[in-house]
Chain length 139, copies 4
């Protein structure tokens, strides 16, 4: 079983496009913030602290599948519920459900990895096995 965390978002004028609705890449920004928020709520330090102790610089995406159900606009408030659906040796699937009151707005399943910088080319990054201590804090 995964912990579930929630994060609230106020939709701003500048989050919306000329159709007057949230421009969809904004949802991905918010879900990325919700991903990190999940780990911090589980007691894991932010990446910049982790980097100094473990070399981990973040949890880049391998893939994601996102479904948009209703549109939303500024002046509205969203809640993002986040949990981890599945752990594998090197990957995990994190699920975000974005709601406005009772309405489902969108949901995404993100497959992510824990990464460190490549020792030979620090501009490149590489995956490491899921750290056991991090996993256990999220369950």
């Amino acid at each position: 079983m995964s912990k579930v965390t929630t994060m609230d978002v106020e939709i701003r004028f500048g989050d919306c496009d000329p159709a007057g609705i949230v421009f969809f890449p904004r949802y991905h920004r918010w879900m990325d913030a919700a991903s990190l928020h999940f780990f911090m709520e589980c007691g894991i330090p932010p990446w910049h602290v982790l980097e100094t102790t473990t070399g981990i610089i973040g949890t880049p995406l391998l893939e994601h599948h996102t479904r948009f159900v209703k549109s939303a606009t500024y002046g509205e408030r969203l809640t993002i519920a986040t949990r981890i659906e599945q752990w594998s040796r090197k990957t995990f699937v994190q699920k975000h459900t974005v709601t406005r009151g009772e309405d489902l707005i969108c949901e995404s399943a993100e497959t992510r990895i824990f990464c460190v910088r490549d020792a030979e080319d620090r501009r490149r990054i590489r995956a490491i096995p899921v750290p056991e201590d991090i996993r256990s804090k999220c369950e």
Copy 2:
């Protein structure tokens, strides 16, 4: 058969995150631009012109599935190749392939709809059947 269009993107410093790589929602911004670029290259006017003649305000996403293969960083140039893989009565699947030279960086399959404003609540939008004249210009 679908036409295929390409759009080039220069990666900027501000497109990258503290890990030094492109922050993934940026790819979605670029692919959204590539989506509109595709239609304009096929001879369809931009949405703000279409809105005055047809009421169409854009092609919002119903869902998308995106795979990230390699990371990229600023100072690099990407090419986004875009085509339409499938047409249904009310939806279509648009495929974007993002490459850096020979390297596949990421790819996405977006399911989109053509939308007009709702007559009763202009802040809401609703789908219409795919316009035949638009479809024929894309093939």
Copy 3:
């Protein structure tokens, strides 16, 4: 005298650039949100409501002058204090002060106008005199 409102911002990973600090256009997004937040806290409806009653679509910027004093990074929390420093017939100056605890991070003076759509070309906008009822609610 102007009312003063405050808005809190959590800095996210994706708000920061490869130097690890907030990419400065983000501050402008937040200050734009703080600008609208100010009006809403003063009892003025959001723009999409105002548009239907008054035609006002927002308060675009004529100019701004921004000073950056200290850098900030993700995991930190900022507070934006906003007030109106000066009213003229068609313009007003809105001042934002961004702090992290005791530290001044940046501050901006924005000169803005109230705008409606141009009747002849709805893609263009034009300024109107500052509405008296809005001004009085902000004082």
Copy 4:
């Protein structure tokens, strides 16, 4: 005398706000890209290369003053002309002029510094004197 470089920008749907015009923080993103573009056109390597040879991680802003003259919308093309107006020992003023054909859209004067990471706290940054070899390449 400063060199002058130019950079073109295609305005995208997602660059615009619910009023249908470019959301102003986008101009700052583009001007930041134009700032780096200027240095690269003058023969200076991008920051990630400079960092390995000189420790320089970029040219953060100390302040800027921006004036918005006309609005612009998607489907339009902008040109950003960039030059350095003034050099001081630790700062320089970079000027961007954004035009659409003959029309002035906006212009900004940015005061920037060259920065390296702080040796004691690598999450903080500090200014260094303007490197002579960089300055001479820009004139």
